[in-house]
Symmetry: C2
Subunit: 135 residues, 2 copies
């Protein structure tokens, strides 16, 4: 149960719907029933990728750093860095087994391909597109 992508997308949606305004982590957290600190953590990632800007102090808050047509959901996905879609083995396989010895490499390669497919799909959708679905 990992809601990081959902938090990031929710905030970007709010920012897109209220351009020019600075939204606080408290306000945003209230809209999605989540802890404000968690919002600030995700915002740090989005800012590190140049998707949003933040302002400290009274009257501080978050705003889009780019026009919403320039932000794709792939950017969001890469910013929040979810765990791999195919999962990840906890233990290393037995190196004495011919299969165990090699399977890690092949599974890694496969995981890369799947991540690429996800990014490709998400790169076709901008925040602008996503928000346009709303009434």
């Amino acid at each position: 149960m990992n809601g990081q992508f959902q938090i990031a997308t929710h905030v970007l949606t709010l920012l897109c719907k209220q351009p020019g305004e600075l939204l606080s982590s408290d306000y945003v957290a209230g809209s999605m029933n989540v802890n404000p600190v968690l919002v600030r953590k995700e915002m740090r990632k989005l800012r590190a990728c140049g998707l949003i800007e933040s302002k400290e102090g009274k009257t501080g808050g978050y705003s889009l750093a780019l026009p919403p047509q320039k932000i794709t959901l792939a950017d969001v996905y890469k910013a929040v860095k979810l765990p791999p879609a195919l999962g990840q083995a906890k233990n290393k396989p037995n190196p004495d087994c011919p299969v165990g010895k090699q399977i890690g490499t092949h599974l890694d390669h496969l995981a890369d391909d799947v991540e690429a497919a996800i990014v490709k799909k998400l790169s076709t959708i901008t925040i602008f597109d996503f928000v346009n679905q709303f009434d």
Copy 2:
């Protein structure tokens, strides 16, 4: 850290490499350093989808139910039913917020699209293909 797909793929690889033999959960678990009960749990899912067969009793074990050319990694992915690639919000958003009210629907739709992209990619690779990569 979710290794269910890895376990399933590892077992199918071993079964493919040793056709005709029945492999026990203990043997397989040893090849991937994982608990045998966990292997049996994944095998239950694969069997429910008709990918493998199992035999109880002494000399029991697991075998492929189909030729490896007929089993795609998409079949495996669907059989093990991983959590959604984009994650999932734990809490429901605030229904009094215009965005919170609707975003669930749009995120669900997006999740479906991404899962479809993953399945499409994985459906191009059979277990036979995967195993052929090994030395």
